[in-house]
Each structure stands twice: as structure tokens, then as C-alpha cells.
Amino acid sequence: MNGFTAFVRKEATEILRTWRILVLPGILLFFAITGPVMARFTPEILKAVADMPAAAIKALIPDPTYLDSYGQWAKNLSQIGLFALIIVYGGIVSSERKSGTAVLVLTKPVSRSAFIAAKALVHAAFLTVIVTAGTLVTWGGTALTFGSAPVAPLLDSAFSWLVFALLFLSLMTLLSVALPSQAGAAGVGIGVYALLAIAGLSKTLTLYTPVGLSSAPSVLASGKHFALLWPVLSSVALSVALVAAAAWLFSRQEL
């Protein structure tokens, strides 16, 4: 064991033994459980409360299918899921600086780069696990609620969101190094999200850059085709670059 692996172990244990195990997993699990049910029964709830003939409602809202359930999952991930991620990871580095724990760790044989890399790796793995688990729960819930749940659209959609989420994890790591305030970093992160959504109006950017991943989860969840190759490759490359930039910047900072 060296300093890096000891720090990786600390970071992973910290997830399990603090609020971190409750927030993102809790939000994702809640969406995974309620999504299929909401998709299945929303039209019936509307029928019950709307002052319209049933036929008119049926014309407006077609009978739900498993794709509505997948769409619900993709929508929840892309909006509240991503916002929660941005807020939670706004302090991924700055919180350790503020609490003074970074000083105790970084005056031992752990380089600043190793500190950043360990955090990015552990939380990337954590996100992968919780998105996978949430997707499996959504799939099971959809199968139970709708009787049929072909897995491909859901997997493609969840995979595209996971890559997008990892990009934002990398971005927040950099922002949390650059900005001492968690709220400040989260604000900038949400600003970047808004910019990507606006950039989605450009077809070229959507096809070839990470911009495409802001809309890909919903498109894929609806059963339509979306060419993921370039958006995914460019996102992975950008994620690596963002973490490298965070490590570089952190190495130059005084603590």
C-alpha cells in the first residue's frame, strides 16, 4: 500500500460512512422506484382529476409504454440528478481545504496530483455503481409495471448520461480546485450546464462534441437512434483533460 491507495481507501470509506451515501444514491433510487409507477399511472391520475371526457384525454395522452418509463428515468437523471451531482461535487476539493484535512494529507507522501486523481477515480466508480444500480431498478420496475422492458434503449440512455455525469464530475473537480466556495463552484457548474443546453441548438456541436450528451439520454430512452461515438469520445477526452488541469492547478496553489 502506498499513499495513493491509502487515500483511495479513505475516499471510498468516506462515501459509505457519511452523508455521501444518502444523497445521490437516495435521489437516484427514489427516481428509479417512482419513475415506472409515475409513467404508468400519470394518464390515469389526469383522467381522475381532469374535467374532460375520457376519450378527449386519451386523444391527448396516448397509453403509456415502457419507453415512457425509460424517458422518465432519463429526464430525472438529466435534470435533478445532474444538478444534485453539481452541487454535491462543488466541494469535492475545497471542503478538504476548508476543513484543514488537505494539509494533513498533503504534508505526507501524497502528491497533489495523486490527491486529485484518487478523488476523481473513486467518485467516478461511485457514480458508475449508483447509475448502474438505479438503471437496473428502473428496468425491473418497468418490467413489473408494463410487462415488457427491452433493455437496449435503457442501457444506451443510462450509458450516455453516465458519460455526461463523469464529464461534470471532472468539471466540478477543476472548479472545486479553482474556487474556494462550494456554492460558487456549483453556480459555475450549473452555468456550464445551461450553456451546453443552448449549444445543443447547433447540430454540428450535438453530433461531434460533449454537447450531444445533454440530449442523448432522452433521445435514446425514447427508442430513437443517436450516434454516441463522437460525443462519448470527446467527453472522455475532455474529462481526462479537466482532471489533469485540476491536478496541475492544485499543484501550483499554496495551501
Binding site: N2, A6, T101, V110
Partner: protein, 309 residues
């Protein structure tokens, strides 16, 4: 004797403020070194540069024979550090934190087990199973010293390890540091003079970013401490104090509560000749006249007290 710390011409500038202004310092291996100075003198900045947390504006810093400029793992492998306000992971227990700290140095297996057991004992935390979040300031400080020792460092650096502790907490931490004498070089900053007098063999006094004195405590006392004479008379002490105050060799004259007169003198010989003459001129009965002991506080006040309100 080899130098554990060698600082040459260290300057650190923050904007328009010169926090360190050409600091030169040598800390010899094996010493317990007190780095003394008033608040804001630059002690913490010096320690931040020594540990690689901050970079010098100019100057050279060597630790255990290596330049700190790169602050590489090899230097950090051999030092222990306790910052002024140590931050712990509140969700860990003391044992878990020490195991984590040891792991950062690559310690494993029975060596780590033994180290952690010894250090928990040293810190008086062996039977404490609560999480660090519930620790008192004193417990955290003792754990802080323990974590700084987990790698059996050649050089232990501590920033104000006893400030904000109650007398018992201070005694515990000072005892921990004193127990390291002869095994580890200890370099600690403080503004508490009695702590330094109690355990240090060598001191440096930092004021406004400059080292104003540096050496063994006894040397500093001899060199900088104003010499004192204490006089006691049967009666007429107030008159005598007033009269002595006018003498050219008396810097300050203090009438103590028990009736003695404490005189800081600039010329000891002149005082020894002049004092009995003043006493005799009024026919007073001299009960006691002796040389007073100079303490570090006198040295400190002499060196950094001037110009302070």
C-alpha cells in the same frame, strides 16, 4: 552537528506585505527548537514554506539535507507536521485516523499495528472509541501530535501546538514533545514563552518577518537579557525606588508587592557600587541585595517589545 533545517535569505511576500524578510535559520539535528514570536511575526508562514504548502518568494530552504523547493515525497517521507488548527476526518476514530496516516506513508501489517498502539498510548487515546468529531480540543491536539509521529520522523514540525489548550492539555502536549528528546529533531512555533523555557534547548525569535535572535536559551539570556538587581530594605522602600530611578545605570525600577525593589540595570558594576551608597545616604537598613534571574520573557520583551504599545 548536521542541520535538520537550513533556511537562507527566506523572503515571502503577499501582495504589498512582506511576511518573511530575509530569514536565516539553522536547526541542528537532535535539538528541541522553539520558534518564538508574537502573533503575526511570520511563524506560520515559515512552517508553510518548510512543509512545501507555500513557496518562497526568494531564498533557499533545505530540510534534512534536501531542497524543499520540489517538496517531493522523499522529504515528506521523513518529516512529521502538525498545523496550528489540525483538520481531521470527523467520521473516523483516533485509531482509524492513525492507521490512515500510517497508510499514507506506506506502513502496513504489524509495523503499522505497533506504531498505532504506541501512539494511541502516548496520546492517551487508547480506550477512546468515539469518533474524532466528538473530541475536545486537547484530544485533537494530542491526536495531532500522534499522527505527526506515525512515520517515526527525523524532523517533527509543529505550529503553535499548545495555544488554545488549557493548562493540563498544554502539559500533556509538552510532555509528549519532551519525551522525544534525543530521538527526533523537534521544531515548534509558539508565542508562549514558558513552553519554550520548559522544553527547548535552542530558540529563535522572529519579529516582523525577521529573526532577531537565535541560539541556545542561556546564551540569549546572557546576551540580551537586561541584568537585574533585587534590593530589599527594612523601611523606606518607596523613597529608595524613586531615588534609584534617577540613577543613570537603572533602566526600570519596579516595587514588588512584597516590598522588594526590582531594578533592571544597564551597567551591573555601577549598580553594585551605587546602590549601597544610596541606601547608606538615607541611613536605611539593607536586608537583601542580589542579582535577579533573567528569564526568556525579559529577552523577548527586550527584542520585540520596543515600539509596541
Amino acid at each position: 552537528m548536521k542541520a535538520a533545517i537550513q533556511i537562507t535569505g527566506l523572503t515571502k511576500v503577499f501582495g504589498s506585505k512582506r511576511a518573511l524578510d530575509g530569514v536565516d535559520l539553522i536547526v541542528e539535528e537532535g535539538s528541541i527548537f522553539g520558534f518564538l514570536g508574537p502573533n503575526g511575526a511570520g511563524k506560520t508562514t515559515t512552517l508553510r514554506v518548510l512543509t512545501g504548502l507555500a513557496r518562497p518568494t526568494s531564498g533557499r530552504v533545505r530540510i534534512l539535507g534536501r531542497d524543499v523547493a520540489g517538496a517531493d515525497d522523499e522529504v515528506r517521507q521523513r518529516i512529521g507536521f502538525l498545523p496550528d488548527v489540525p483538520g481531521f476526518y470527523d467520521w473516523m476514530t483516533a485509531r482509524e485516523f492513525l492507521r490512515f496516516a500510517g497508510g499514507l506513508f506506506g506502513l502496513t501489517g504489524s509495523l503499522l499495528d505497533e506504531r498505532v498502539a504506541v501512539l494511541l498510548d502516548l496520546a492517551g487515546l487508547t480506550d477512546v472509541s468515539t469518533r474524532i468529531g466528538g473530541f475536545s480540543r486537547g484530544m485533537k491536539q494530542r491526536l495531532g501530535v500522534a499522527q505527526a509521529l506515525v512515520n517515526a520522523p527525523k524532523l517533527l514540525m509543529l505550529d503553535e501546538p499548545t495555544s488554545a489548550l488549557d493548562p493540563i492539555g498544554r502539559k500533556d502536549v509538552l510532555d509528549m514533545l519532551a519525551s522525544l528528546r534525543g530521538r527526533t529533531t523537534v521544531f515548534f512555533s509558539t508565542h508562549i514563552l514558558s513552553d519554550v523555557e520548559r522544553i527547548c534547548d535552542t530558540v529563535a525569535i522572529l519579529d516582523a518577518g525577521k529573526v532577531v535572535a537565535h541560539g541556545p536559551i542561556d546564551d540569549l539570556k546572557a546576551r540580551y537579557g537586561a541584568q537585574k538587581v533585587i534590593v530589599e530594605v527594612d523601611e523606606g522602600a518607596e523613597w529608595l525606588a524613586g531615588e534609584v530611578g534617577r540613577a543613570p545605570w537603572a533602566s526600570t525600577v519596579t516595587l514588588t508587592e512584597d516590598g522588594a525593589i526590582e531594578i533592571a540595570v544597564s551597567d551591573a558594576r555601577a549598580a553594585r557600587c551605587g546602590l549601597p551608597a544610596i541606601v547608606a545616604s538615607r541611613g536605611l537598613a539593607l536586608r537583601r541585595m542580589e542579582a535577579g534571574e533573567v528569564d526568556l520573557e525579559d529577552v523577548f520583551v527586550e527584542l520585540v517589545g520596543g515600539g509596541r504599545s
